[in-house]
């Protein structure tokens, strides 16, 4: 009978082990083996830990803070990532300066020419980018019938009379700064990619 008892107690221990398992669930990321290897020593821009006590139990840091603490106290909001120094100017790989026309300068924008030459590859890329960044509102065919566009309302039908003859520079300007109910997409899409979208809109959507 003793043996039976020991078997059953063993089973209970086994099941309990299974229950308390080390796997991740909900807010608990799971047990870590050698936790120091999972937590970044350098500033990690996308996973900062502002709590100074985090990982105190295994810390051997000289500043007395927790091992997992990862936050830059010198930045705004103690963030690890920061904006470039004011007035710095990024250049793209071709050395082109950023687009500088002001939001209201639509007349000036209309005169800007597309720096990218059209070919099949550019159009294919343009189509892909259009689907990624535009189709939710303007629809895959450009008729302003995307699923999000129906909720927002007032989305331009790119094939409509008011839009069909717009110059390429105007379209680029509107993607960059937004207009009417459309938000500015300059921060999401690089200038080269915006020009490719312009090509696709002009060559494919507005000729159908």
């Amino acid at each position: 009978m003793k043996r039976v008892t020991s078997i059953y107690s063993l089973a209970v221990v086994g099941i309990a082990l299974g229950m308390v398992s080390c796997s991740a669930e909900g807010d608990y990321p799971g047990t870590e083996y050698a936790p120091q290897m999972y937590h970044s020593v350098p500033y990690e821009p996308l996973s900062q830990i502002p709590n100074e006590e985090e990982g105190m139990w295994l810390s051997n840091r000289e500043d007395g803070k927790g091992e997992f603490y990862n936050s830059n106290p010198n930045n705004q909001h103690k963030m690890n990532m920061r904006m470039p120094v004011p007035n710095t100017v990024p250049r793209d790989p071709r050395g082109v300066l950023p687009y500088r026309l002001r939001v209201a300068d639509l007349e000036g924008a209309a005169l800007v020419e597309n720096p990218i030459e059209v070919d099949d590859q550019v159009l294919a890329e343009g189509r892909e980018l259009y689907v990624q960044y535009c189709s939710s509102c303007h629809g895959t065919g450009g008729e302003g019938d995307g699923k999000v566009g129906e909720v927002i309302g007032g989305v331009a039908n790119l094939k409509g009379g008011a839009y069909i003859n717009l110059p390429e520079g105007h379209i680029f300007h509107v993607i960059t700064h937004g207009k009417g109910r459309m938000g500015a997409h300059g921060s999401q899409i690089t200038a080269d990619r915006r020009w490719k979208i312009v090509h696709y809109v002009k060559q494919e959507i507005q000729t159908q």
């Binding site: 043996r3 039976v4 078997i7 063993l10 089973a11 221990v13 086994g14 099941i15 082990l17 299974g18 398992s21 080390c22 796997s23 991740a24 669930e25 909900g26 807010d27 608990y28 990321p29 799971g30 047990t31 870590e32 083996y33 290897m37 999972y38 970044s40 020593v41 821009p45 996308l46 996973s47 909001h77 963030m79 990624q132 960044y133 189709s135 939710s136 302003g144 699923k147 999000v148 566009g149 909720v151 309302g153 007032g154 989305v155 039908n157 094939k159 409509g160 009379g161 008011a162 839009y163 003859n165 937004g178 009417g180 109910r181 459309m182 938000g183 500015a184 997409h185 921060s187 999401q188």
Partner: protein, 422 residues
């Protein structure tokens, strides 16, 4: 007397009602400017103009971004209406009081100029606006609700449901078979006991009882149970040990209850719209609040409800106070391993879902894959390289052409230690 009076009263009221109805119909039918054509051709021509140019901001009988249009020739002069359609900004800037009031009422929303429309086009358009699509609004609303219900009801999970049903049916059938067998045994035993052709040995055989307790205590039984329990314990322990350092299933609660199911699933917003770095950088990136605002400038609540949803209000607070939203990172790769999104998504053409699972069905995002080295290597061993249209691979394809197997990631250094660990 009283009956007569009441009869009179009724007839009087009915008369009034009829006059009112007549007046109402009359207003509907005759207040439209007589110059607006009402032929079928004009209406259908106007409809195509309306769909191409007006539909996204206007409805005939419903206020949207701009006002409901039906009855516009009754409310305004025909000439004014035409001028406003052709170039609304010019009319507003001329100081026209009606136009300025309208512009203010609709939050200074600029209506683009439509100076490409001819006078004939305008008349056809007005014909459609006044006479087109006189649908019953209630029917339209119920149809829309029905559509939404159908849309909401779809979703996966059917195969697993079927499996469960099949399993339950099988278990029930097996239990029934057991019961029937038990009944047969008892009936047979009774029958045999009643017959007198049996000798003592047979009787003993028929009436023997199974001694369960002795089976429980027998060595064989204990050995079998011990083995099973030990195997179970070892398996649980090994499984548990294998989950150490693996965050598969991690689903932290986020500062804003953002639903991928709603955004990526229901509204089909492509992943790249928000995760802008995925094709050009190492990280896919968490969108900043200005990207949220591209849509949430206008969408302030879910499901068309009035007011501002408390979750969406958190975006507005973040934007107003220039305060970052502290999202919790779900997928953590230790620094000892290097991973680059653009290499996999832009060059390799791997779908987001291959590693991140059914994101478009996740109300709360969880880590779908184990992200262990074995998992990486497994994929590198099995994945063929798309070499078409990529000059970089030309030489490699040439060198590999003698091999019988397809060119896979492992063949171009996908298993090299220094590829990821350096």
């Amino acid at each position: 007397m009283s009956i007569k009076r009441s009869l009179l009263g009724v007839s009087f009221r009915v008369f009034h009602l009829m006059v009112l109805i007549f007046l109402f119909i009359g207003l509907q039918a005759y207040a439209v400017d007589p110059e607006v054509p009402d032929s079928e051709d004009a209406i259908s021509a106007g409809q195509s103009i309306f769909n191409a140019n007006c539909k996204t901001c206007h409805r005939l009988d419903q206020k949207l971004i701009g006002p409901a249009l039906r009855g516009v020739t009754e409310r305004r002069e025909l000439d004014w209406t035409k001028r406003f359609i052709l170039n609304s900004q010019a009319v507003i800037q001329s100081g026209d009081a009606t136009a300025v009031a309208l512009y203010k009422e609709y939050n200074n929303a600029v209506m683009p100029a439509h100076d490409f429309l001819s006078d004939g086009d305008l008349m056809n358009l007005l014909a459609y606006i006044e006479y087109g699509d006189k649908a019953d609004p209630e029917a339209a609303a119920s149809a829309a609700a029905g559509g939404a219900a159908v849309g909401g009801g779809s979703g996966g999970g059917i195969p697993s449901e079927y499996l469960t049903i099949i399993l339950v049916v099988l278990v029930i059938v097996l239990i029934l078979v057991l019961v029937v067998l038990g009944l047969i045994v008892s009936v047979l035993t009774k029958y045999m006991n009643n017959s007198d052709k049996l000798d003592a040995d047979d009787k003993e055989f028929i009436n023997q009882k199974t001694d369960y307790l002795s089976i429980l205590k027998s060595d064989g039984f204990i050995v079998i149970v011990t083995t099973i329990v030990l195997a179970f314990v070892v398996k649980t322990a090994v499984d548990g040990l294998y989950t150490i350092g693996v965050q598969q299933g991690y689903a932290p609660s986020q500062p804003i209850a953002y639903s991928h199911e709603l955004h990526a699933g229901q509204y089909e917003i492509p992943c790249q719209y928000c995760h802008t770095g995925v094709e050009i950088g190492k990280s896919a990136n968490i969108p900043s609040a200005n990207i949220c605002m591209n849509c949430h400038m206008h969408i302030q609540n879910v499901g068309g409800k009035e007011g501002i949803s408390p979750e969406i209000a958190k975006i507005y607070a973040a934007v107003d106070n220039d305060q970052p939203i502290e999202w919790v990172r779900v997928h953590n790769l230790p620094d000892l391993a290097y991973f680059n999104h653009s290499q996999h998504v832009a060059v390799g053409g791997v779908e987001c879902q291959t590693c991140h699972g059914p994101i478009e069905e996740m109300e709360v995002v969880y880590q779908h894959s184990s992200l262990t080295m074995g998992w990486c290597i497994d994929c590198h061993r099995n994945t063929e390289i798309t070499t078409q249209g990529n000059e970089y691979y030309d030489k490699l394809v040439q060198l590999h052409s003698e091999s019988k197997d397809a060119l896979k990631v492992k063949d171009i250094g996908g298993l090299e230690c220094a590829k990821c660990h350096y």
